[in-house]
Symmetry: C2
Subunit: 161 residues, 2 copies
């Protein structure tokens, strides 16, 4: 089990977009250049964020991506789900149905104790991620590394040229 590489990219991209003043879209190429990432593939990940309503996109010159919501209204889970999808990691195949005495009408995803344990664990994971907003992450970084926001904003805008 491993999360997609795009999760890390998307989180860093959102954080960077949070440091750019409103009304200034940042092209995918600028973000990609900032982290030395393949532009087209990062663009693909950003599209997923657009579909989830986390960022908005603008085409054409001076276009790009910007946050669609306030950082305090974006949780880390939102970003993860946008990239990975909302399906749970452990998907009960209901193998108990094929076992002796297995019945057709039973939903073993809810009945099977093993499935319940796995789901509860995943719920704890979700809860942890849903409890952290982008604004909190942003504030933590600003507190520990005060220079980063300015450097990032400057870097992204200069890279446009």
């Amino acid at each position: 089990m491993r999360t997609s590489e795009g999760v890390e990219w998307a989180l860093h991209a959102c954080l960077n977009l949070a440091w750019v003043e409103d009304g200034h879209p940042v092209p995918a190429a600028a973000l990609a250049g900032h982290f030395q990432l393949p532009p087209a593939y990062l663009n693909k990940q950003l599209q997923a964020l657009v579909r989830s309503g986390i960022v908005s996109s603008t085409s054409g010159p001076r276009g790009g991506f910007q946050l669609a919501r306030k950082p305090q209204d974006i949780t880390v889970l939102d970003v993860v789900v946008a990239i990975e999808g909302s399906e749970e990691a452990f998907r009960c195949a209901e193998i108990l149905r094929d076992a002796p005495d297995g019945e057709m009408g039973i939903d073993y995803r809810n009945t099977c104790v093993i499935s319940q344990v796995m789901r509860k664990a995943e719920l704890a994971w979700w809860k942890e991620l849903a409890g952290r907003t982008l604004a909190e992450v942003k504030a933590t970084v600003e507190s520990r590394f005060p220079a980063v926001p300015g450097q990032t904003r400057h870097g992204l805008l200069n890279r446009r040229a």
Copy 2:
């Protein structure tokens, strides 16, 4: 992100082995037949459990697999790690190092706030799984479905014939 199918199989297999009296190994083919699973592939998953010291194997006639430890000494996490490996799901690629002002000597897996958030979430997941032993799962099933243990043991031993 999704867990391997083998995780579900391994958990059910361990639970079933817990219902068979000691000293009676169960062949992979018997477990596979019980759940209508491909025998060779289930065997492969069981090998991973052997390497992790969760079950022990015996070759030859009357051979098979049996639990190597007491159910109360086997956590759900043990089984998951045996199949999936101990690497964390979110693997920080340290993309901050390639960003401007990124430095070579820094371990961004520990410094990056995003990495910390993801790791903390995963820790919650681990903790949940580590807190459930096979004995607890077994007891829960026995409490809700008293007939299952006997049926399972009988089914596995009969299938041997």
